[in-house]
């Protein structure tokens, strides 16, 4: 009995949902980007340009290979030796960019450079073989490690941190407050908030424009009134309450307003012209 009575007065949820929403907000869910992607990891640069016929890292130190025939050189080239040797060259290239001295391998910047080399090589493999689970796991781990090292470097040596970002072409973004799965409700809430904010701002700016447009005529009126009062007081030999300074002040205000008004009108005209075009 009671239920029937309440259902008469209170429309149930199904009916409520049929009502059109008041605010028309369209939400598009951002596409999921895998964590190993350069976009996410912050690598602004791909693999360095290393030709296929460059010699392997260890072999290039050898004396005999310098005057060896072409066919021998080809055998010891990166293209022939394989990906592993090529990756070693990539790592070396990146480490050479930041090395302090020749034997520098364990300082923060060289470690980060080495990890960057590894990441870029693995990103390349992931592009070719997106289902390679081992490589995927490896890149994610190395990216996290590099981020941690960058975080520490930032804490104890900010200048070097910035220099390193420039040198290795990496982007660094701080961790967000929380890593969580994106929900529809949260996104809609934020969008609605932004929508409300924009409405509030537009209303405020409209009101501001209205008030500012009234400022000029009022100032002119005030100037006239002040001058009139001063003249009357002088004529009737009454104590003068309006000084020259007051009048000058109002004149200056009027001048400022005129300059502002002109600028505003120019902007309006420009907008109109753009619309017409």
């Amino acid at each position: 009995m009671l239920r029937r009575a309440t259902s008469l007065f209170i429309p149930n949820r199904g009916v409520n949902q049929l009502v059109k929403p008041l605010v028309n907000i369209k939400w598009t869910r951002p596409q999921a980007i895998p964590a190993y992607n350069p976009e996410k990891s912050g690598d602004l640069e791909g693999l360095p340009n290393i030709p296929d016929n460059s010699l392997g890292k260890e072999y290039s130190l050898c004396e005999e290979i310098k005057d060896a025939p072409e066919s021998v050189k080809k055998i010891f080239s990166v293209g022939h030796l394989g990906k592993k040797e090529y990756n070693a060259l990539v790592k070396q290239e990146l480490m050479d960019r930041v090395k302090r001295h020749e034997y520098d391998e364990r300082t923060a910047e060289t470690r980060i450079a080495k990890l960057t080399g590894q990441i870029r090589c693995l990103q390349d493999t992931m592009e070719k073989f997106p289902r390679n689970a081992k490589a995927k796991k490896a890149v994610q781990e190395i990216i996290d490690k590099r981020k941690k090292l960058l975080k520490y470097l930032r804490q104890y040596d900010y200048k070097k941190f910035e220099w390193l970002l420039e040198r290795l072409n990496i982007e660094y973004k701080a961790h967000p407050e929380s890593y969580h799965k994106l929900t529809r409700k949260e996104s809609l809430r934020k969008l609605t908030e932004m929508h409300c904010d924009s409405i509030r701002q537009s209303k405020l700016s409209d009101y501001r424009n209205l008030l500012e447009s009234q400022q000029g005529p009022f100032l002119r009126q005030k100037l006239d009134a002040l001058k009139f009062i001063r003249n009357e007081q002088m004529d009737l030999q009454l104590p003068i309450t309006v000084t020259e300074q007051d009048i000058n002040k109002v004149e200056e205000q009027l001048k400022e307003w005129k300059i502002k008004d002109e600028l505003k009108e120019q902007v309006k005209k420009k907008k109109k012209n753009i619309l017409l075009d």
Partner: protein
Amino acid sequence: MSRHLADAAKKFLLLGQCVPTVKQNATKIRVKRLELDENLLMYFRKDDFYYCHDPEKKCNTGDIVLIQALPRKLTKLITHEVKEVVYPFGDITDPVTGKKVAKERYREDIDREAEIYGKLKSGFDYNKAPPRGWQDGKKDFTSKPTYTKFHVFDENDPYAV
């Protein structure tokens, strides 16, 4: 009595760290405090956040600063002002010797080591380095808080992760 206390409390200097914020005309300072849990009789960490007036942009994200309450609130939000930057972030000076430090070592020692091994041009030079902030907003996105990307906008915000 309580008014005197409140006045005295306003003169206190607070030590806090600057944290990233979206507000453009104020800096957000985190002050770490300890709060007593009366049931456990144990102290737990409690963070207080203050928005501070800083017209000269003295402090950057991460700096340790001294703040003081303003005699009158500037806005509803801004209640304090930045007095002094005590420790700039990532640019630490040893208080005893007055030399610059990176982690647990003096910078000059690090330079000396590189010199003995044979310095290379590729290495980082402290004397040539520009002051902090030249990569801010270009490659270093730490001055504002980052957030999970929730919508596809026309303009891509670098702070959306």
